[in-house]
């Protein structure tokens, strides 16, 4: 646990947002989501795919995503997730917050550009 605290911190704050964003176009199961995050973040985020699942559970518990068992593209059972209406609203809230934070941090780091 002491090995990569920086990454876990990032995950804590942003994993929810990433999942919601990835589910916006349609349904997906855990394996797909994990690979999508890993690929899109150029393998910086989500080194261990297992840490995705508590986040999924949390989101589902809050009612932002819903899940159901289905059959995957290569004929395996998998738990699929989709965004709920509340989740869609939450996505835009989190998105705007994230952008505010990024802009704020950038302004601190590069004051000259302002």
């Amino acid at each position: 646990m002491g090995k990569k605290p920086a990454q876990t911190d990032i995950l804590q704050g942003t994993l929810d947002l990433l999942i919601l964003q990835l589910l916006a176009p349609g349904v997906a199961h855990g394996h797909t989501i994990a690979y999508a995050i890993e690929r899109r973040s150029e393998e910086v985020l989500l080194v261990e795919h297992g840490s995705l699942y508590p986040a999924l559970h949390r989101l589902e518990d809050r009612g932002w995503i819903a899940s159901f068992w289905g059959t995957s593209e290569n004929n395996r059972k998998a738990r699929y997730y989709r965004l709920t209406a509340a989740g869609r609203k939450q996505l835009s809230v989190e998105m705007s917050r994230w952008e505010r934070v990024v802009r704020a941090i950038n302004q601190v780091l590069h004051p000259a550009e302002e």
């Binding site: 199961h29 855990g30 394996h31 994990a34 261990e48 795919h49 297992g50 840490s51 699942y53 508590p54 559970h57 949390r58 518990d61 995957s72 290569n74 395996r76 059972k77 998998a78 738990r79």
Partner: protein, 448 residues
């Protein structure tokens, strides 16, 4: 804290476990498709995922309610440790149960005799009128009797302090005739008795002013217990007639089950109205207890003062005949006062009051000794369990957690002690009540 989540935590754990297994399968299959040998593929999938146990634990922690889960664990563990040393558990539980049991039994007695109010409307308002300092032993004195019937009639007619007054007396009389004759506990009441007390009939009607008249009385009211046991719970409409004191009386009503009369510890069987004997009322039998409810806004002290003002005239008019002048003078100087009577009167109370408190103190001491005993036992056990506790500390249990565990065990013992008391209590109490202690307390509501 969400109970819904808490109650479904096991279901979710299963669900997530299946989901994780599905991930591992998919990943393994993908790895094989990428050209890994099967054993390598499974290991690589597990590496990619991380520790499934940790992930499940994290999810489980999200769902559960920490303190509840750990308390439950502590209780189960405590139960197991108790079962592993049944001798200790039995001694601890039995000593606690006995201590608690003795206390409860004595307290029930004390409660019934001393603390509980009469089962009537607003018992706190009731006041009893007595002669200050008693009647100095003049005349004939009956149990619970404080005043004579002529005194009562004067008080009833003259007093201004009470919105309602009544008088009653209790004694034992005979029912039936010849060889069929049996005792019964008679309650003699004035016409207003039931109305002022606010007792409502269980069946039929209760006695009223219209029942007072020349002797012999023809109507009577039975107590619920007497009606059930002696009269067989028969319907009143069929007309129940009894021979009480050699006169025929008709049962016109039943009092409610909780009403036992005015004397705690002595229940009544039949209530009869006061009647006027042919040769007049005697002025020297102190047989009735006079009670009343002060008018709204009147305190007992104020009522008492009003009674004191009234006293000279009343006593002047009722001097018992045939006494020496000194006694007459003493009688004329008697004063009436009102005393709170919310708990009724009780011969048992007067006789046993001090010994009851003493008994309660002693049983309290017994409980204390039992507790000290138990503390000793626990202490001895704690030193024997030093190794177990050391192991748990070494495994990472916090001091708080260990403390909670030990507390849970003590709580378990105490709970079982209380439960252990529950089973023998009615029997024990019955032994107390039917034994030497209060032989007359048949109708005592002591098991409740």
């Amino acid at each position: 804290m969400s109970w819904r989540r808490f109650l479904k935590r096991r279901w979710w754990d299963d669900e997530r476990a299946r989901e994780i297994a599905a991930y591992l399968e998919t990943e393994t299959a993908d790895n094989i498709a990428r050209g890994m040998p099967p054993t390598e593929a499974a290991a690589a999938a597990r590496r990619k995922f991380g520790n499934p146990g940790l992930v499940r634990e994290e999810i489980y922690r999200m769902n559960t309610i920490g303190w509840l889960e750990s308390t439950w664990q502590d209780l189960r563990y405590g139960l197991r440790t108790l079962r592993s040393s049944p001798g200790f558990a039995a001694v601890a539980i039995v000593s606690l149960a006995l201590g608690i049991g003795a206390n409860t039994a004595i307290f029930q007695l004390l409660d019934a005799v001393r603390l509980r109010s009469l089962p009537v409307q607003n018992p706190r308002e009731l006041a009893e009128m007595k002669i200050v300092g008693g009647n100095q032993g003049m005349g004939l004195n009956q149990q619970y009797g404080e005043l004579t019937r002529p005194l009562w009639e004067l008080i009833r007619d003259k007093q201004q302090a009470f919105s309602g007054t009544f008088a009653w007396s209790a004694n034992q009389r005979y029912i039936g005739r010849g060889s069929e004759m049996r005792h019964f506990n008679q309650l003699l009441v004035s016409g207003e008795f039931f109305r002022v007390l606010g007792v409502r009939p269980f069946r039929g009607r209760l006695l009223g002013p219209q029942d007072e008249g020349a002797c012999p009385a023809s109507a009577a009211v039975a107590s619920y217990a007497y009606w059930r046991s002696e009269l067989g719970g028969r319907d009143l409409a069929s007309g129940i007639k009894l021979i009480a004191n050699n006169d025929l009386v008709q049962i016109v009503g039943i009092t409610p089950p909780e009403f036992f009369g005015m004397a705690v510890g002595d229940s009544f069987d039949l209530a009869l109205p006061f009647c006027q004997p042919k040769d007049g009322l005697r002025r020297d039998i102190f047989e009735v207890s006079v009670m009343g409810r002060p008018k709204p806004g009147w305190t007992i002290e104020r009522a008492s003062a009003a009674m004191a003002v009234l006293s000279p005239g009343i006593f002047e008019a009722t001097v018992p005949p045939g006494r020496d002048p000194r006694t007459d003078l003493m009688y004329k100087h008697f004063r009436l006062a009102a005393y709170p009577a919310s708990t009724g009167v009780s011969g048992t109370r007067e006789t046993y009051d001090k010994s009851l408190w003493l008994l309660l103190a002693i049983t309290g001491l017994v409980l204390l000794i039992a507790c000290a005993n138990l503390a000793n036992l626990m202490l001895a056990r704690a030193s024997a369990r030093g190794r177990e506790i050391a192991v748990r500390l070494a495994l990472g249990a916090s001091r708080g957690r260990l403390l909670r565990q030990l507390l849970a065990e003590s709580g378990l013992l105490a709970g079982m002690g209380c439960a252990g008391w529950g089973s023998p209590s009615p029997k024990l109490c019955a032994v107390y009540c039917s034994g030497r202690f209060c032989p007359k307390a048949r109708g005592w509501n002591c098991v409740s």
